[in-house]
Subunit: 293 residues, 2 copies
């Protein structure tokens, strides 16, 4: 794998992810100049003060002139607007990548707004913490040892794909390549569905008449189980909508799984219940052992 | 509230809970003699060696002779067998309490095996960690600041109820009194349902053809969400069966909640989705603030 280097690295949206990519690449000595673009003047001044970026700009179309790499890291519902802004000025050989949690939606945006630039547009998704927000939480080590999934388009030039992979490798991530649709199916199952389940449970509890009493007796297991229901409602609304097809299929399969388990409980079929619980525990323990090694 | 004291405190089943009650009461100077009863000679020798109990016995019927308090803390599926054993020898004025996670089942057992002793049988449930097992994990501080629910029977003498409450207060717990059926409905919602949901999710994932790939991309959110799926399958099978009615109602209500959310996603109704997610996050944050204060 060749090393990643950039002369003029432009970050559209300097929050936790964009800021951490900047910090990681700078620490690794892979970038000459980092330009941060954002609409909030206060946030951009903060990014400058923290040394995360060298220059700031408010106009994305102007900022991408002269860029050799552009990272799209605004909240995903702004992707279309920002891509429309830069479509006319993005240099022809400039690499464009992103960091969103879903990939089919950004692929559709790229096809709509940058149809002539698809060779150089390579979507990606670094799997890193979403509990904190904003450039103040940015840190150079955020991606170290974490997965980053690169989801090439058929139109991509191979060297653009490899450069994108090198970018995330330079940030310390473990890079995997897969199709955008495949990515969205996997993350529906391991991330989007669990978030929906946790939000649904806490919401249902909060609307019961005995909610106050229920929360009074909720303990540590409930706290861990619902931790992801503390995530950003806006971001997860967008993810649920962006990954609608895969997520709806997974919700339906899960409802069916619950119906089966309810049947076992109704039948007082202790050995079937125990088999389900045991398989779950074993699979989880095997997974934990694997992630530690 | 009067202080709890016991001359001869008999613990049927000396594991994490029974052992911790013994340690807590001894530390508080509330017991003269603690007798541990269990079928595993090795475990009982361990309890003796740790100083958790003063005496050990294998025969429950004999051990309860001369007791003024008996704590039933065997795995719940053994409750019936143990209650049958002690029925003939339990002293008439001896207090009997337990520590199980469900209460309607033990009430049924008490009515079946000790119908003449119901005045002195007061079920209870201390809400304390189930991640560790065995007398080696026992500690005097396990219940400090935790909830303990006491679920009296209509037949109970008031002084037996108050003595049971004093017992858990002496262990450091915050005691609440409620009816057994009410207890089971609350803990179905805040504990039993979440466990079932976590077990069901991990089981379903483990049975997919792409299970290995899914687990490879599961991250911290998944780990927390599924932590309770690392709990004992046998214990949770028993809880699911013991609290069948409340749990089945909660599973069905939750499936309906998921169907509604799926409908919002299918309709791409972003504001409805965000409202659900926001209510959940707010309720959880409010709860966390409350538990800290």
């Amino acid at each position: 794998l060749k090393d990643f280097h950039s002369r003029r690295f432009v970050i559209l949206g300097v929050g936790l992810i964009g800021g951490s990519v900047a910090a990681a690449l700078r620490r690794a000595g892979r970038v000459k100049q980092i330009v941060g673009v954002g609409r909030s003047r206060a946030n951009m001044e903060r990014a400058l003060a923290l040394g995360v970026v060298d220059l700031v700009a408010q106009d994305a179309a102007e900022a991408v002139l002269g860029a050799d790499v552009v990272l799209l890291s605004v909240p995903v519902q702004q992707n279309a607007r920002v891509l429309a802004q830069i479509a006319a000025s993005l240099p022809p050989d400039c690499l464009l990548t992103d960091a969103g949690s879903t990939k089919r939606d950004v692929v559709a945006n790229l096809r709509e707004f940058l149809p002539d630039r698809l060779a150089q547009c390579v979507p990606a998704h670094p799997i890193a913490g979403a509990e904190l927000n904003g450039v103040d939480a940015a840190n150079a080590g955020l991606f170290v040892g974490k997965n980053a999934v690169v989801t090439p388009l058929p139109e991509n030039r191979l060297d653009a794909v490899e450069r994108t992979e090198a970018l995330w490798t330079a940030c310390g991530a473990v890079v995997t390549r897969m199709a955008p649709e495949h990515h969205d199916r996997i993350f529906s199952a391991v991330s989007h569905l669990p978030h929906v389940l946790a939000f649904a449970l806490v919401n249902a509890m909060s609307q019961r008449e005995d909610a106050a009493e229920l929360f009074r007796f909720a303990a540590g297991g409930f706290r861990d189980f619902t931790r992801i229901a503390g995530s950003s409602p806006e971001m997860w609304r967008d993810i649920a909508l962006a990954n609608r097809d895969a997520l709806l299929a997974d919700i339906e399969a899960y409802r069916e799984q619950l119906a089966q388990l309810a049947g076992m409980i109704a039948d007082a079929d202790g050995s079937a219940i125990e088999a389900v619980f045991s398989r779950a525990r074993q699979a989880r323990e095997q997974w934990l052992r694997g992630t530690k090694s």
